[in-house]
Amino acid sequence: MTSQSGVIALATHLPPWGRAGQRSCGPDEDVVTLAVAAGSAALDLVPGAKVDLVVLVTRDGAPLDTGVGPVVLAALGLPSDISLTTVLGGAPAALDALASARPGTLLLTADTSGGAASAAALTGAGGAELTQVSRVGRSVPTLVRDAAGVEFDYSDARLQRERGLLLGLEQLSLPGKPLAVAGVSPKDAAAVCEGTPAALPTAGASSALFALADVLRRGEAGLLVSVEQGLLTAVNVQLGEVSLGVRAPEPRALPKRTVSAEADIKMSLPAYDRAFDAKVGLKAGKCGTCGTLALPPRLYCLSCGHQGPTELIALPRRGSVYTTVTVHVPVPGLATPYSLAIVELGDTGVRITVHVTDAVPGAVAIDDLGQLVLRRVAVRSGIPDYGYAFAPDEVSA
């Protein structure tokens, strides 16, 4: 990290499903939606922040293909010509990327397996500075994947602790005990740390940023270590002004839902391509003559009769439920029961019909407030189709 530059914003995100120590993805979530959830939370912390590089680090790389970058950028409201790099790796890769990041970098980390979680960090002038201290690279391949992404777990926690974590820590030759260790179980981390580190919700790529958030919250400068198998990275954290964002809803069990029959609806890529900017960027078409907004955009304006291409305008993501219905009757290809809502977006007058997510079916009512969030709304011909769903605000008990 270049001097005078550091982490200026850090956001962590947990899906509401699962249990306290181990969250799980909802059926409409994947690496992309989790990364976007954390990324947009980080960007919200520093309005107007300059971003000219996005790096996405994850171990769960199967869904990462060439089409993913534009989805992430569009959903984050970033220009489509920004460079987006995807890195297949865990906590050390994430920490390396952050410690070497130039200002204006948005680091996204997401984990779907072994504890679903995501986190994002934004670098800029000032902030908390990370400096690389030492690295260890030993081959301890306890978990590997074949070309098809199928996992092979050697499954020997004791070997991993002795020959990965403990030998690695010794070889790092640190000047003192680390404040936090990411990438290992909370128990293993606590055993080698100074003080009482927070139990991290995952051991994957995002655990590096959860650990950094813990160090910053504790307000102590010091060492932070990330581990994955035989790879270790140690950085020194200097405290600075960092906006912290935490989304950690109360965990609850994923509701039981059933799919009565699969529906083999084909993907239309021309239709996907035409809809993309408005659908994934959540933008309305603005009539060039009378200014009426239409979602999806339309060629012929119903308000004034003007016909022609429209300008795309970003819509607010906050909205209120205009009406809602819960479907219990089995629908091929959809898990029932599920709730739909027509959501009014800010004061634009624009309404969107979406699935309700992050809530049990039937949980929302008219006038409830919430947020439109990027979700994988369908998979057609094997191709993920991203769009928006309504996540109601957490109701405080």
Partner: protein
């Protein structure tokens, strides 16, 4: 039976039109047809529409035509009759005008064939009308 005249016509180019859906192609053709009437006509002068579309694209045909072209308050009838679809739509509009039931009707024909993979375009497009065995 009253005599019936064709007072105007409009047409998009034929092509793959990857950048346009049926919701763009329809208003392009309809607006061009209205603009071609030599003494002029208002959209509100239209009293009924017949829409020939062989296979549905992007939703229920009559509603797609009504919404995309702003024909919200007139009856719209969807016609499907294989290769005779367009002729049949015109024939039904002719009956409506010649019988005196309406004075002005619009006939629209559209199909968006290239919205599925080139490998299986016609099979996908016609899947609903064929025996898949």
């Amino acid at each position: 039976m009253k005599r019936v005249a064709i007072a105007g016509a409009g047409m998009t180019t034929f092509g793959e039109h990857f950048d346009k859906g049926i919701k763009e192609l329809l208003p392009m053709a309809v607006s061009e047809a209205l603009a071609s009437v030599d003494k002029g006509i208002e959209r509100s002068d239209l009293q009924a529409a017949w829409f020939g579309e062989l296979a549905t694209t992007d939703g229920f045909p009559s509603g797609v035509l009504a919404d995309s072209c702003g024909l919200l308050d007139i009856p719209i009838t969807h016609i499907e009759n294989a290769c005779a679809t367009g002729n049949d739509a015109l024939r039904n509009a002719f009956f409506a005008v010649s019988s005196g039931h309406v004075d002005v009707a619009i006939v629209v024909g559209a199909d968006k064939v290239r919205d599925t993979s080139a490998r299986s375009t016609f099979w996908d497009w016609m899947a609903m009308t064929r025996d898949m065995a």
